[in-house]
């Protein structure tokens, strides 16, 4: 096979305007080749989800299939593609991202711990978004993380829930160094896990673990603001009761809107609080929502959680087009 012997080249102008070329190794992505050869471009998940490694190709027709997965049509037509998803079989002329392309500035207007592990970060910025989408937040060019937006455009800030990880490159910086009034770069918003329901009576099932609650909270608030009248069951899973957060805000929301029902599930303990249950989330969902044929379903959290529950919901008759999901990958 010719492609086995022929290794394609990447041709591009670097950020200093110099012509550069890099030889691709077999089965190597454009992102890996750029990083291996010492070129810096923003990247985060390496799995085609965060879109932070978006670059442009001068000849879009030469792009291998699949390298534009998830991009907006307008961007795909202009030859943008994701460097981590692109495994070229022939040489490509590409354009590295302009440092300022698509990236805006956000100012920190709020920061507080919601429980032991979750930091609520509020940023003032003018980017447009749909609740449920995510943004890339920059500590520096090389330390970029994707976080879901937890509120709606009705507020004059964006809210993010950041899980604090000791020695985490991004989260520890937010916890220890970032101050109110500081500015950071932001890119987005991206993602298809959004509420677009035109049938306001449709029942919604929303399930999340850990900070998977963030996009779900945004979606719930958005649905309520747009007069959704169907039932909304928000199922939140955690190991222990102390891992729950945003409880006060959600309780008062559920108090005001009778069609919103909260299900707080602890997998590892019998909680003392009567509003929390001891239950396995998968079992609980299959027992309480045995027939999902009428539902729109939203699933957010770790990839294993999303994959397992998506399959379960599909087998409980949810139609594939009515299952929306956002799997959080950790930075590699």
């Amino acid at each position: 096979m010719l492609s086995f012997f022929f290794k394609p080249w990447l041709h591009f102008l670097d950020q200093q305007g110099q012509n550069q070329k890099v030889r691709l190794r077999p089965n190597e992505s454009v992102l890996s080749a750029l990083l291996r050869s010492g070129h810096t471009i923003p990247f985060s998940c390496k799995a085609g989800l965060c879109q932070s490694c978006k670059v442009q190709c001068v000849q879009p027709s030469k792009l291998p299939a699949g390298s534009q997965r998830g991009l907006k049509n307008a961007h795909a037509q202009q030859g943008f593609f994701l460097a981590c998803l692109c495994f070229p079989k022939r040489s490509l002329d590409i354009k590295l991202p302009d440092a300022n392309d698509d990236i805006g500035v956000a100012k920190v207007v709020g920061k507080e711990f919601l429980n032991e592990k979750v930091i609520r970060l509020r940023l003032s910025t003018d980017i447009e978004f749909n609740p449920g989408q995510f943004c890339n937040l920059f500590k520096s060019t090389n330390v970029v993380r994707s976080y879901s937006i937890a509120n709606t455009p009705a507020d004059d800030y964006l809210e993010f829930h950041i899980k604090y990880i000791e020695n985490g490159k991004f989260s520890a910086w937010v916890a220890n160094d970032l101050r109110i009034g500081d500015e950071l770069n932001i890119q987005g918003a991206y993602g298809n896990c959004i509420y677009t329901e035109t049938n306001k009576n449709k029942p919604l099932l929303l399930c999340g673990i850990s900070t998977g609650l963030a996009p779900l909270a945004g979606i719930v608030k958005h649905a309520l603001e747009t007069q959704h009248t169907g039932t909304m069951d928000l199922v939140i899973g955690a190991r222990k009761a102390k891992d729950f957060y945003l409880t006060g805000e959600l309780f008062s929301l559920a108090d005001k809107h009778k069609n919103l029902k909260l299900h707080w599930l602890c997998s590892e303990e019998h909680p003392k609080n009567i509003y929390f249950n001891h239950a396995d989330l998968y079992q609980y969902v299959s027992e309480h929502f045995a027939d999902l044929s009428e539902y729109s379903v939203f699933l957010c959290g770790a990839p294993t959680f999303v994959t397992k529950l998506k399959k379960q919901c599909f087998l409980s008759n949810a139609s594939m087009g009515a299952i929306h999901s956002d799997a959080f990958t950790s930075a590699k």
Partner: protein
């Protein structure tokens, strides 16, 4: 909605393809969820689907059903071979998929003679799928 699968008048049948006869794209849409569910819970083959992207797989199954229903498709023997060659599939795996296909069609009320035509098309890709 499954009335789409109902038998039409014989005169019409003779002038239209099998795909149109059983209801075209709407028929495929109705069949694909049911078919995929059966495949996912079939212990003989479910392991092959544990790690795949469900949306992508759903799209592929829709393309597969469009093909076996005799509809417009871009499936080629080469695609089939490429997609399955690393999976070490056996006769039993192929039979399992075929059985699920037949069960789906029966459940949707497709006529016996049409099921036979569909199975015939499915059998035509068997060697490619099993990499023979």
């Amino acid at each position: 909605m499954f009335g789409l699968f109902g038998k039409k008048q014989t005169e019409e049948v003779s002038t239209s393809s099998l795909y149109e006869k059983i209801g075209g794209e709407a028929a495929v849409n109705a069949a694909v969820d049911l078919f995929y569910k059966k495949v996912l819970v079939d212990a003989r083959i479910s392991e092959f689907f544990d790690t795949v992207d469900m949306e992508a797989q759903h799209t592929k199954q829709k393309a597969f059903l469009t093909m076996v229903f005799g509809g417009p498709n871009s499936y080629t023997g080469k695609d089939m071979r490429e997609a399955h060659k690393h999976m070490s599939l056996t006769e039993e795996h192929f039979t399992a998929v075929a059985e699920n296909l037949v069960a789906t069609l029966k459940e949707l009320g497709v006529a016996e003679e049409d099921i036979n035509s569909i199975v015939e098309i499915a059998l035509s890709v068997k060697d490619d799928v099993l990499n023979k």
